[in-house]
Amino acid sequence: MNGADPLVEMRDIHVAFGGVQAVDGVSIDLYPGEVVGLLGHNGAGKSTLIKVLSGAYQSRSGEIYVQGRKAEIHNPRDARKYNIETIYQTLALADNLDAAANLFLGREIRQRNGLLDEVRMEAEARKILKRLNPNFTKFHQPVASLSGGQRQAVAIARAVYFEARILIMDEPTAALGVEETRMVADLIQQLKREGIGIFLISHDIHDVFDLADRLTVMKNGKLVGTVRTQNVTQDEVLGMIILGKMPEGAAQKADA
């Protein structure tokens, strides 16, 4: 893609749980302003692969490069240092805390005396959530009392606020209604324009086909292949997911 370094590159990643190879020698990359859909059945290893990038899991072998430099990611804090932000399928929200507390969880703003600057955090949360979801008003309730879309907004706000360069979205629209799904799609387009690279993980091809520039398919922990979305049909991609085979003539275009 226009000759630039990839934003992130994962090379030959292996992850094993006990004796099971959850991820077996998979390599993927992502360029600025690009959306890469990561597809596969449940248990194909896509979430595991991506959790290596977000610091939740450790790979047994393999290397990660961020903007051409080797990156050491051992925990979620490390990943954040490389501006890698993750929106988990479960949203990873503490249900008993309010929106601002969740937005800043692990990265709280503090006053000079070391205490939390709650008013400041609330102000920042109001600003960013207003941008993402103008209907957001429940700033003092625990997020448990919010709707699915509002919870999603909090999780997205967390990634956007801290200026993600690499954004990982795990099944971002799985629990959302039509209107909210459209909002997430709009947001993805907007972030793309800002030059952010996005990994979009899904087990449902319909969720990602319209949004992704490239599609990477995994099956049983192994890489099936990567294709440019414009070069394939949905049926061909379904074939990759189900049969684990590259469509005729698509393979050589993958890394073009």
Binding site: T86, L93, A94, D95, L97, G114, R120
Partner: protein, 427 residues
């Protein structure tokens, strides 16, 4: 909505806390009538405040532990062990250490401080050990502290092979309250007035902060009403405590001890705020700030709300667990000092069953056993409710077994009512 409902909503009062205060008042009034006017008296309320202090101090730590989805069954035994440990430190080690070649220096002015520091250090160490096993070795807190319950009670016996340590150091005994361990008149009022100033200041400060960002604010009258109500409560408390007269013989003892000149009409003295209650107040403020206004507290609540989310947010939950138990250990040491000082002696049965009182206080005070929810203030109120029931029943002559039955029922009932309330308000 009724006028009262609207008023409370504008004031943003926690109606659950209000409900507990109401329950407490009902208990007090009922016993007051039942005892023929003996319950709501300066004398009884003073004793009640002192009796509540030890359990309430530990309940402050238990809130953090339960909020983080753990439990600590060892606090009663740990209290017993630490009381015995501090007993030996103050009656055997330090007098000899400070005395040097001239024989033991009993009553040395530094003994109580060094003893307390040693107890706190030992409590922190034991808490760290238990917290390490729970956090880093991933043994469930229930099991680790169940083991601790047996281990520390056994260790408490071992320190003196079962002998009671008595009497404790004279200065150390002030920590337990009594005629020597009180603030008397003026210091009590100074503490009370400073508290009122702090309340008003914090309300003013919070309002200023919200104005800085143009946030919606409570109406001004609501702020005044809250400040006035809280200040009135503090003043009523101090007024009650300072109207309890120290018996003349004890007053003479205090005058002699402090080297005060006895006026012609004899030694007159009022108790005022008891030192253990002052300690509880300081700990309550400290723990509330820790829980609500620091990163540490925020992480404790995040761990309780969603442990996975906490971990994914980069919170080191293992280290957090260790520190939570260190805090519990420190508070156990302070409670041990209060409890043994009040008895003026330490024996290896001190604090027996306190783990259940402490957990019950936290739970009655609204701490959720499934984690993520609880307040320090609620736990202290919970401790006060339980102690009020127990003292009241003792005053009207209910037998000890019957007291346990009543308190057991109240515990279950309180949690049931709390859940009903939550179900109604949360959807």
């Amino acid at each position: 909505m009724t006028v009262v409902g609207r008023t409370l909503k504008a004031m943003e009062v926690d109606t659950r806390i209000l409900g507990m205060v109401g329950a407490l008042l009902v208990i007090w009034i009922a016993f007051h009538i039942w005892t023929g006017g003996l319950f709501i008296t300066p004398r009884n309320l003073f004793n009640l405040s002192v009796q509540t202090a030890s359990v309430a101090v530990m309940a402050c730590g238990m809130v953090l532990i339960i909020v983080a989805r753990h439990i600590d069954l060892s606090v009663g035994s740990l209290l017993g062990f630490l009381a015995m440990f501090m007993g030996v430190v103050q009656t055997e080690w330090l007098p000899h250490l400070f005395g040097g070649g001239d024989g033991p220096a009993f009553g040395h002015a530094w003994i109580w401080v060094v003893t307390l520091a040693a107890g706190v250090a030992m409590g922190a160490l034991i808490g760290a050990l238990q917290g390490y096993i729970i956090g880093f070795l991933a043994v469930p807190a229930f099991i680790v502290t169940l083991g601790g319950l047996l281990v520390w009670r056994g260790a408490a016996w071992w320190i003196t092979t079962g002998q009671t340590i008595s009497p404790l150091d004279a200065n150390f005994r002030w920590l337990g309250g009594g005629a020597e361990g009180s603030l008397y008149f003026w210091p009590s009022w100074i503490v009370g007035i400073l508290t009122c100033v702090a309340i008003c200041f914090s309300i003013w400060w919070a309002r200023r902060e919200r104005r800085r960002f143009d946030f919606p604010q409570k109406p001004l009258w609501a702020e005044y009403a809250i400040a006035a109500t809280l200040s009135a409560l503090v003043i009523a408390f101090v007024a009650t405590m300072t109207s309890y007269q120290v018996p003349s013989r004890a007053a003479e003892r205090v005058y002699a001890l402090r080297g005060w000149e006895v006026p012609e009409d004899g030694a007159h003295l009022v108790f005022g705020i008891a030192i253990p209650v002052l300690i509880l107040g300081i700990i309550a403020v400290f723990m509330t700030i820790l829980a609500r206004r620091t990163r540490f507290g925020r992480y404790v609540f995040a761990m309780g709300g969603n442990p996975d989310a906490a971990q994914l947010a980069g919170i080191n939950t293992k280290r957090m667990t260790l520190w939570i138990f260190v805090i519990m250990g420190v508070l156990c040491a302070i409670s041990a000092a209060i409890a043994s000082a009040r008895l003026a002696s330490a024996d290896n049965a001190v604090g027996t069953l306190d783990e259940l009182r402490v957990i019950a206080a936290a739970v009655i005070g609204g701490t959720s056993l499934s984690g993520g929810r609880g307040t320090i203030f609620g736990a202290i109120l919970g401790a006060l409710v339980m102690q009020s029931l127990q003292s009241g029943m003792a005053m009207v002559g209910v037998d000890a077994p019957m007291q346990n039955i009543v308190i057991g029922i109240v515990l279950v009932l309180a949690v049931y009512v709390d859940q009903l309330y939550r179900r109604r308000t949360e959807d």
